[in-house]
């Protein structure tokens, strides 16, 4: 029943894979169907964008003007104080510096995650060894341990080794892998047919080469997901930087944003403007990462 023919494994296999894009994504035929789908998509987009529109409306209001109104305003009508964005960037916090700091932490984390999780994920996905079941169970269990209880012990540990006040506690652990991504990558890699492995071993490749030259390139979609999520999660992460950093020069965007929240006399307009600004980098990353999301084994040009 298997109509997959293993391509001969050559050094340019990944390139050929990308070239031969067989229409994996289904092109809908009937007009009615397409209209219905578009309607659905538009409806969903409205569900998403209306609240964002509210944020924009709030962001464009001047100080001391009510932000919560009896009938919600989905789109700015009266106030167009674009300078609130400028104010956020310059007055309420040193936005540029915070962004640079955050970028440093985020990019390092993405690197660490991609390197470590792909290696470990491959190990769990396609290698046979004693204790694999136990170790994998341990991996899952570590995902269960709530950060709330590890927070203080980990903090004290990092303090004792003099990493307090630096970015090290925020970056180095990512090179030790993240259970979530290892799990994800393992699931994904297990969907790649073994015929590729077999053919490779016939050609004399060892495990590392199989990993590096065959499996990894085919795993671009899942690695993209990992990169995007790591970027996102670190961009928004508040507690780590809060605990381990102790001077304003090192602060990240998340801390700057959280600083705007006070329980009395909150500057809602600035807060919404700041939130809108902070969405932009992750969205840009995601938009460009989308191309990589499509790929995988299905795009390996195959003849039945």
């Amino acid at each position: 029943m298997k109509t997959v023919e293993a391509p001969s494994v050559r050094a340019d296999a990944p390139a050929r894979a990308r070239a031969g894009r067989v229409g994996r994504r289904w092109r809908p035929r009937t007009l009615v169907f397409r209209l219905v789908m578009y309607a659905l998509l538009l409806g969903l987009s409205a569900f998403i964008l209306l609240p964002v529109g509210w944020m924009l409306t709030a962001a464009l209001k001047p100080d001391r003007v009510p932000v919560f109104t009896a009938t919600p305003e989905w789109w700015p009508r009266e106030f167009w104080h674009w300078e609130n964005f400028r104010r956020v960037l310059t007055e309420s916090m040193p936005f540029l510096r915070y962004t640079l700091n955050t970028t440093l932490v985020v990019v390092s984390n993405v690197l660490g995650v991609l390197i470590s999780c792909s290696l470990v994920g491959f190990g769990f996905a396609r290698m046979r060894f004693r204790g694999s079941k136990i170790l994998f169970s341990i991996l899952i269990i570590t995902m269960l341990i709530p950060w709330q209880v590890l927070m203080v012990p980990q903090f004290l540990m990092f303090f004792k080794i003099h990493w307090y006040g630096t970015y090290l506690p925020l970056i180095v652990p990512s090179f030790g892998g993240t259970a979530f991504f290892i799990f994800l990558i393992r699931q994904y890699m297990r969907t790649i047919p073994r015929d590729l492995d077999d053919a490779a071993r016939v050609d004399g490749l060892n495990n590392w080469q199989i990993f590096w030259r065959i499996i990894l390139p085919l795993s671009t979609p899942v690695l993209t997901v990992c990169a995007v999520f790591t970027f996102l999660w670190n961009w928004n992460n508040l507690l780590g930087p809060l605990l381990y950093l102790d001077s304003d020069e090192k602060f990240t965007v998340a801390i700057g944003l959280a600083n705007l929240v006070t329980r009395s006399d909150t500057p809602w307009n600035l807060m919404m403007a700041a939130n809108l600004l902070s969405i932009i980098p992750p969205i840009v990353v995601y938009f460009f990462a989308q191309k990589k999301l499509i790929g995988g084994i299905a795009s390996v040009g195959l003849k039945g």
Partner: protein, 314 residues
């Protein structure tokens, strides 16, 4: 692996297997090293803490199993938190799994502008938890929030009071999470990529319509991803914290109806200053969740299909 099938010379088989094992451990090295360096010590420390009374800033004092005893017999917040969290799990996990799957199928269609739609649906995941919570608390205001205004406009006279209603408080949090389900859909999307077109072609040739193609090709090939989403959604639901924390504030005007398990742990540990007790509660959660998760994981062999499963190569 030709050698796996043939009953070859035992020593050669052993040596190859051992070599693979060593290589495997090398691949696993980053994780093992990370565990040792950053996890073992804090975990052990945390377990020790669970048997002590500690206000973080003074010296801890040993209480043995006292924390566990108090939790089970003397603390209504503990049982309340279990009820609230259980309600949340039962509501959210099935909903998020199905919604994410449906959404990803939608997003996988080849329509024009799909890149844009995918980006839009990803936006909620990008917003920080604080922003999302603040936003939705405003939208869910019983009197003047947008949601109820819309409900009234379509003729529902007595719309729910959302966060202000003991029955609707947890569903409100589920709704807020549903707004962000587009982020999870991209995980399904990546899983959808590995389903070979030939399988669809073969099915179509056999006369299968779209539903049967979905049921007999897409779904089975998606089971690894489904398992992942099931387990991680469960784990997330056990650990729900952010939205509830922001809605009720650090000082905590959390009515009983929003007292999620980890929020309760947070209050006990960091507001009431009893981190030992909080750790004990957290470890109870870990054990309970571990049992559920491992059960699902062990029985997953029956319904999950892997193209490549090393353990089946014997």
């Amino acid at each position: 692996m030709i050698t796996a099938k043939t009953s070859g010379r035992r020593s050669r088989l052993g040596r190859l297997a051992r070599r693979e094992e060593r290589t495997a451990y090398l691949f696993l090295l980053p994780w093992l090293a990370g565990l040792l360096m950053f996890w073992i010590v804090p975990i052990l420390w945390s377990v020790a803490l669970s048997a002590s009374d500690w206000d973080i800033i003074s010296k801890p004092s040993w209480v043995g199993l006292g924390n566990y005893r108090e939790m089970l017999f003397d603390d209504r917040h503990f049982w309340l938190a279990i009820r609230v969290t259980l309600k949340y799990i039962l509501l959210s996990v099935p909903l998020y799994i199905v919604a994410g799957l449906v959404l990803s199928l939608l997003l996988n269609l080849k329509l024009r502008g799909m890149n844009l739609f995918r980006t839009i649906l990803f936006v909620p995941s990008v917003l920080s938890g604080v922003a999302v919570a603040i936003l939705w608390v405003a939208l869910l205001n019983p009197d003047v929030g947008a949601v109820n205004s819309i409900l009234r406009a379509v003729g529902i006279d007595n719309p729910p009071r959302w966060l202000g209603s003991p029955t609707w408080a947890v569903p409100s949090v589920v709704l807020i999470g549903l707004w962000g389900v587009g982020g999870g859909a991209i995980i399904y999307l990546s899983g959808l990529q590995n389903i070979g077109a030939q399988l669809y072609e073969a099915a179509a040739l056999d006369g299968a319509g779209p539903w049967r193609r979905f049921r007999y090709v897409t779904l089975p090939m998606l089971t690894p991803t489904l398992l992942f989403v099931l387990l991680t959604s469960l784990i997330d639901a056990f650990q729900v914290f952010d939205t509830a924390f922001i809605v009720s504030g650090a000082q905590g005007a959390a009515g009983d109806s929003l007292r999620f398990y980890l929020l309760n742990v947070w209050y006990e540990g960091f507001r009431n200053g009893r981190l030992g007790y909080a750790s004990a509660e957290a470890w109870v959660l870990v054990i309970a969740a571990a049992l559920v998760i491992l059960l699902i994981f062990r029985t997953s062999g029956r319904w999950v299909y892997y193209e490549y499963d090393p353990e089946k190569e014997r």
